[in-house]
């Protein structure tokens, strides 16, 4: 079967707000939403596969849920903070697309319908970071309610301003591809949880409890960032409201979720295509004593369009064109200027680049509590005496080796506020200082779940690994780096994306520890 092509939703929108692909999608969402949750092809069932919690279910009073045995087998299965993040979501989207296509055909639409993607990183499109217009219209062309805006009479909750087309709510940094697309390997070859964690994320067993995000993982940004930015969190009177996209248990109920993940899936194809050495893992990793092969060790269960339960391994979805879903994207070339100028030379083909072993050289000894204003922690740095010692003394660090900032056990029972991380920020920073000392941001998608002990989660919160090698070099060049001490500042991101402004007080976000690693 020839591969069908998934298209850029904004290019479709440029033809017409209700270009047929988008209109059929809206109609199919409406059709699927009318099906009972017990039907695997229903909107609610598909949403539950990602995550489900009856306390967060906007349709909790609408009809029966699947049996407990079905929920146990098929629901709450999204993979996060793991090298299975990409293949699991590829399978999830593949089966979803087949189910939607069947609904489209049932409604009289084309049999070659494909799921569009939202390319929020397209620098040639001034509107890229705005939700495509079809998702912001209250009505369909025939005057009936738009299922991309409301589902079965329930408004789809999104961050205030998202439906009004406010691009400032998604800062350019959140959709920048300069980190993930320049990553040179998929996953580390060991089960490390510090340092460079690859484009695809750390090697783990099947993992619904997201714990660790590397800065260069596509899951960190743009994936987590978009979930937080589009979903949003705000107060209405005494109540805190959260958009569907910010909560893993409701995210897949928002029709934009699927276009977001189609783009993430596309970025996987883009990354593979940059160089032959950007290959998917083929070997096995010893994870806490167990050898796990990314490609073959784990099977994931879904329903196909016929409602039949099937299982699939990552090895079956390596090639989107020749795999079971037979699709491709209209654009899979890298948008980065560096990749356009010169094709990346194919190094010796390897699936996972051996990572230099890193060692911790300093850490904070007290927790950091964030409630709306900037907080700073300072701690000493030691000379490496282990694997990083071979790189030489810290003075040589700019020339040899890498430096990472690790933010550990970030726990929050309520708040998802985005905080930006700065190194050695001056006492009264101006806009230039914020730019020059910027290390990265914490996108807290899933933090509430990760902070709560349950059947699905250990309750230890989230961890972030930021590569500050280049930042350290730049700061050293302007005498703003101290080999023996580091100051790390967490500053809230303001309402319009500006750094450093205090935001309204919120429930505490607690950071267990900040540490620095050399490799």
């Amino acid at each position: 079967m020839a591969a069908l092509i998934r298209k850029d939703a904004w290019k479709l929108s440029a033809i017409s707000t209700w270009e047929p692909t988008l209109l059929w999608y809206a109609k199919a969402v409406g059709e699927m939403s009318s099906r009972p949750a017990t039907d695997p092809s229903s909107w609610r069932f598909q949403g539950g596969v990602h995550g489900y919690n009856k306390n967060a279910d906007p349709f909790a009073t609408t009809g029966a849920l699947p049996k407990q045995s079905v929920q146990k087998k098929f629901w709450n299965k999204c993979q996060h903070g793991t090298w299975f993040f990409l293949p699991w979501h590829r399978m999830y989207l593949g089966f979803f697309e087949q189910i939607v296509r069947a609904a489209v055909v049932k409604l009289g639409g084309p049999a070659d319908w494909t799921l569009p993607y939202w390319n929020y990183s397209d620098s040639s499109n001034a509107n890229a970071r705005i939700l495509p217009p079809a998702f912001r219209q209250q009505k369909l062309p025939d005057g009936s309610p738009n299922p991309l805006f409301e589902i079965e009479g329930v408004n789809i909750l999104r961050a205030p301003g998202i439906n009004a087309g406010n691009a400032a709510l998604i800062p350019p940094d959140d959709v920048s591809l300069s980190n993930c697309l320049t990553e040179s390997f998929f996953s580390p070859e060991t089960d490390i949880t510090v340092g460079d964690l690859g484009f695809g994320g750390p090697a783990t067993g099947p993992n619904h409890d997201a714990q660790v995000f590397g800065q260069k993982s596509v899951e960190n940004a743009p994936h987590n960032a978009i979930h937080v930015d589009v979903g949003g969190e705000w107060t209405q009177g005494a109540k805190t409201l959260r958009g569907w996209m910010i909560n893993p248990d409701t995210a897949a109920l928002d029709p934009i979720f699927w276009l977001h993940h189609a783009n993430i899936d596309r970025l996987w194809s883009v990354w593979n295509g940059i160089s032959p050495s950007n290959a998917n893992p083929t070997g096995a990793v010893n994870v806490g004593g167990r050898k796990i092969s990314w490609a073959t060790s784990v099977k994931f269960a879904f329903h196909n369009a016929a409602g039949v339960a099937v299982t699939m391994k990552p090895s079956q979805v390596l090639n989107t064109r020749t795999g079971p879903f037979a699709y491709d994207y209209d654009v899979t070339s890298s948008p980065l200027v560096a990749h356009a100028i010169a094709a990346v030379a194919a190094s010796t083909r390897r699936t996972m680049t051996p990572q230099p072993r890193s060692e911790m050289v300093g850490a904070s000894s007290r927790k950091v509590t964030l409630t709306g204003s900037a907080q700073t922690t300072t701690f000493t740095i030691q000379e490496p005496s282990g694997p990083a010692k071979a790189r030489g003394k810290a003075a040589l660090a700019p020339l040899l080796g890498k430096t990472y900032l690790h933010i550990e056990n970030v726990v929050s029972k309520q708040s998802h506020a985005t905080y930006e991380v700065y190194v050695n920020l001056p006492e009264k920073p101006d806009a230039a200082a914020y730019q020059e000392h910027y290390a990265g941001a914490m996108h807290l998608f899933g933090v509430r779940h990760a902070s709560r002990r349950s059947e699905q989660h250990a309750g230890s919160g989230l961890n972030f690994s930021l590569d500050i090698t280049e930042l350290a070099r730049a700061l050293r060049a302007k005498n703003a780096w101290d080999d023996k001490k580091i100051r790390v500042t967490f500053a809230p991101r303001g309402a319009a994306g500006e750094p450093g402004r205090a935001i309204p007080e919120h429930d505490p976000i607690k950071i267990g520890r900040v540490s620095i690693y050399r490799a």
Binding site: V194, G288, P387, A458
Partner: protein, 235 residues
């Protein structure tokens, strides 16, 4: 840029220990297995709480330490290099403390209730395995399983670092005890039978590392329990 590795050449043991921080812990566990094999017949009765307790701790060292590879790696990864082995030691002390308390309680109970005199070792193993089967299909098992993945922030230096590693080991021990209590009962009810210990260790390893299909694990445990039960009846 090609990075030059100027580190002095390390011995093999040192290299193994550097790359696999769990290396010496597994060595201790292996020695414990050898001691168990040497001292344990199919069914041993011990006189006195202390003797029971020491044997219990030998079992825990042999069977439970290998399940903490991930915890040890994480402890080492999140500690300053010069103190990584000390950090691991404090972690294991915290971990073993949980089992030590459990063992002290059980050692006292076994003598009060005269358990070794009431069960043959195969009957004891069968009862333990049926308890394991019931635990695996209970809703609490899934919550307990997640607790094995908890982590704690560790202070970098000083007594606080030791305290935090001890605390991390303690919560790891609690998670482990919460998950594996029926399997340790298999060993205890069977009078510390070596065969029962090997079976229990295999099930614990599968529980920790295999894909969490608790229904399948319960079927295996139930089958083994039935096998021990039938064998004890036939004999």
């Amino acid at each position: 840029m090609q990075v030059q590795n100027n580190a002095p050449e390390a011995g093999t043991l040192q290299t193994l220990s550097d790359r696999f921080p769990e290396f010496w812990m597994l060595g201790v566990s292996a020695v414990a297995w050898l001691a168990l094999a040497a001292w344990t017949g199919r069914h041993i009765h011990f006189a006195g709480v202390a003797a029971n307790w020491w044997h219990w701790m030998l079992m825990v060292t042999a069977m439970m330490l290998p399940l903490q590879i991930q915890g040890v790696r994480l402890t080492a990864e999140r500690s300053l290099w010069p103190r990584r082995n000390r950090a691991i030691a404090w972690f294991l002390l915290g971990y073993l403390s949980v089992w030590a308390l459990a063992g002290a309680l059980l050692s006292w109970i076994v003598l009060v209730l005269s358990i070794p005199l009431r069960f043959g070792w195969m009957e004891g193993a069968a009862i333990g395995l049926f308890l394991e089967t019931a635990w695996l299909i209970s809703p609490w098992k899934r919550v307990a399983a997640r607790q094995c993945h908890r982590t704690l922030p560790l202070s970098p230096t000083g007594w606080r670092a030791d305290r935090d590693c001890l605390g991390y080991g303690w919560i790891a021990g609690c998670g482990c005890a919460l998950n594996c209590w029926p399997l340790m009962l298999v060993c205890w009810l069977s009078g510390h039978s070596f065969i029962a210990m090997v079976v229990a260790f295999g099930l614990a390893w599968a529980d920790r590392h295999a894909t969490p299909n608790y229904t399948l694990h319960a079927m295996v445990a139930g089958f083994l329990g039935a096998a021990f039960g039938v064998l004890s009846w036939v004999r």
